[in-house]
């Protein structure tokens, strides 16, 4: 899996950041990450661990949610991003695909994709990129003229990812790309990630719940838990860690557990006294 090994150069560095929402809710309590150039880095962790928050802190979208980085710093190619707004960062090549799709509802699928090429580029290249995205996601081609608000959940997800690809970024922050996608599409998206990464050297930082797939495609990974990094290492190391295997991959000593059995091995709570 580690064939397209990343260079040693670090493109993105998060140093011990602390994030507070609404002046009172402390969410990240000192998170540090280094993302190697040209690598695929996975950010794993349970609900509310702070994965999305970390990504938003990096892309600058935090401010629009009344959150702020109160401590630590984020360096992109050695430059502090604190005073940059998201548009600046996109121009510098960092783009985020937000969790929960966020398509422009009233625009058609195609228009959505075109907004991805907002920052510059000539017509010919836009057309080429559009073609590329349609080739990745044939379903979008079929639905290109529909208003994005009326497409299915999975279609919106494809649309959001395609939109990001349109901007030809050097670093993509992907927040839960697999959410709501059919299994073969999940594989397909990760294949795309790998392909774009290998062919064009695009760096990926992806927050993912689907640990199984994520660790198959990522080079390195971090595990977050309630706002702190609790484990880091290469994908291999993580996969082999027994705790990770149990809690994040759903494997027990005897191989994959059945979901039907959860009741017997998890402490069962009675809710009718």
């Amino acid at each position: 899996m580690l064939d397209a090994a990343p260079t040693r150069e670090t493109v993105l560095e998060v140093n011990n950041i602390e994030v507070i929402y609404n002046h009172v809710i402390l969410v990240l309590k000192g998170v540090s990450l280094t993302v190697p150039k040209g690598g695929i880095t996975a950010l794993l962790g349970g609900n509310g661990a702070g994965k999305s928050t970390t990504l938003k802190a990096i892309s600058g979208l935090l401010k629009s949610e009344r959150g702020e980085v109160t401590k630590g710093q984020i360096l992109y190619r050695g430059e502090n991003t604190a005073d940059k707004d998201p548009a600046d960062l996109v121009r510098r090549g960092v783009i985020q695909v937000m969790e929960g799709r966020h398509c422009f509802e009233h625009l058609t699928v195609e228009e959505n994709l075109l907004t991805g090429s907002y920052t510059g580029k000539n017509r010919a290249q836009v057309a080429e990129d559009l073609e590329m995205v349609y080739n990745y996601f044939p379903r979008l081609r079929e639905r290109r003229k529909s208003q994005a608000g009326y497409t299915s959940g999975g279609e919106q997800q494809m649309c959001a990812i395609g939109r990001a690809l349109m901007s030809r970024p050097e670093t993509i922050l992907l927040d839960e790309p697999s959410m709501g996608l059919a299994p073969q599409l999940v594989e397909q998206i990760f294949e795309i990630v790998r392909e774009v990464n290998a062919r064009e050297g695009v760096t990926f930082l992806l927050a993912e719940q689907n640990t199984n797939v994520a660790l198959r495609y990522a080079h390195t990974g971090y595990i977050l838990e309630s706002g702190r990094v609790v484990m880091e290492g290469t994908a291999q190391e993580l996969r082999e860690n027994p705790d990770v295997a149990e809690f994040y991959l759903g494997m027990s000593d005897k191989g994959r557990k059945s979901f039907r059995d959860v009741r017997s091995y998890r402490r069962r709570k009675r809710w009718l006294a």
């Binding site: 629009s64 509802e105 009233h106 228009e111």
Partner: protein, 328 residues
């Protein structure tokens, strides 16, 4: 032809003209709504402010004279020069761009990603502020605005219609000028928003601030751009209405005439503004003219809204508005 029909025709034509004038104001609303999902309550005040500034510049008034006089006991009033109309219009347009920059910087920037009603409220604050500011800057007295647009009954129309029907229609020349200007504005703006990259970005921003940011659209640029254009539209509206009835506080209340137009046409549609304007203009004038006298008159205010309401019941997003997306 019977007199009634002739009168009806005359009223209709005049209604169309009035509608165009409403549309001019509505246009400013549409632009800003399209670009940010903000219902800009301050649009009327912007028209007043633009007109005040225009007259002030034309007459060489010293801005803030009253304040300065009150504070330092001086007696400043005028610079003592006159600025030609064209130059004054250009300068005013620049002032409106400056205003757009300030608004973005001190208001909008801090309210990214908020609910529409909050943004609406912020524009109300802005309206208060600008109303006070305009008065402090230029004084609250009534001012005459004259940039050389002809006014009064159009002889040509009178002649032509007299020859045709034996009854000369009344149309105000100013209205004809306004109609031409409005059509030019609508066509340009429609082309801009439909076919340019910025136009698309504009609609994207209105849908989802955060997502727009995430694809690298600079909200700052988009907002300064649209508020500048809206400021310019306000200036045009201010000139037309100001030439009609002088420049004073009530000018800002024309926003109320633009609201039904906006709702009928759809908040997001530039052509909607003009079509809505025409429907409302004709509708209310005909109603006031024929039904009004029977029920005591002064029906125009409410009739416009009732008319818009009737349309909305059948098309809840207005005639040309974007479909309201209802999904789970």
């Amino acid at each position: 032809m019977s007199d009634t029909i002739l009168y009806a025709m005359e009223v209709t034509v005049n209604g169309l003209m009035a509608g165009v004038l409403y549309a001019l104001v509505a246009l400013g609303f549409v632009l800003i709504f399209k670009a940010s999902g903000i219902f800009n309550y301050a649009q009327g005040v912007m028209a007043l402010f633009a007109a005040l500034t225009l007259v002030g510049i034309q007459n060489g008034q010293i801005p803030f004279a009253h304040l300065i006089n009150a504070m330092f006991g001086t007696q400043l009033h005028h610079f003592g020069w006159k600025v030609p109309a064209v130059l004054a219009i250009l300068l005013t347009a620049l002032v409106m761009v400056g205003l757009a920059i300030l608004v973005e910087r001190y208001v909008l920037k801090h309210l990214v990603n908020q609910e529409p009603i909050i943004l609406f409220m912020a524009t109300i604050g802005l309206a208060y502020f600008m109303e006070g500011f305009g008065d402090v800057m230029w004084g609250a007295d009534i001012k005459k605005l004259d940039v050389g647009i002809p006014q009064g009954m159009s002889e040509t129309v009178d002649q032509i219609t007299y020859n045709l029907f034996g009854y000369g229609f009344f149309i105000d020349t100013l209205d004809i000028v306004a109609a031409v200007v409005a059509v030019i504005l609508v066509v340009t703006l429609t082309l801009f928003s439909q076919y340019s990259k910025q136009g698309r970005a504009l609609r994207a921003v209105a849908d989802d601030h955060q997502a727009a940011l995430s694809v690298g659209i600079s909200l700052r640029f988009i907002w300064v751009l649209t508020w500048s254009i809206a400021g310019f539209v306000a200036l045009v509206a201010g000139i037309m209405w100001g030439s009609k009835s002088g420049v004073q506080f009530s000018l800002s209340l024309i926003a109320l005439k633009a609201l039904p137009v906006l709702m009928l046409g759809g908040f997001t549609s530039i052509p909607g503004a003009i079509v809505g304007g025409l429907i409302i203009g004709v509708g209310e004038k005909l109603f006031e003219f024929f039904i009004g006298p029977m029920i005591g008159g002064a029906t125009e205010n409410w009739f416009a809204y009732v008319l818009a309401l009737l349309f909305l019941v059948f098309r809840p997003q207005g005639l040309f508005g974007d479909r309201i997306i209802e999904r789970v």
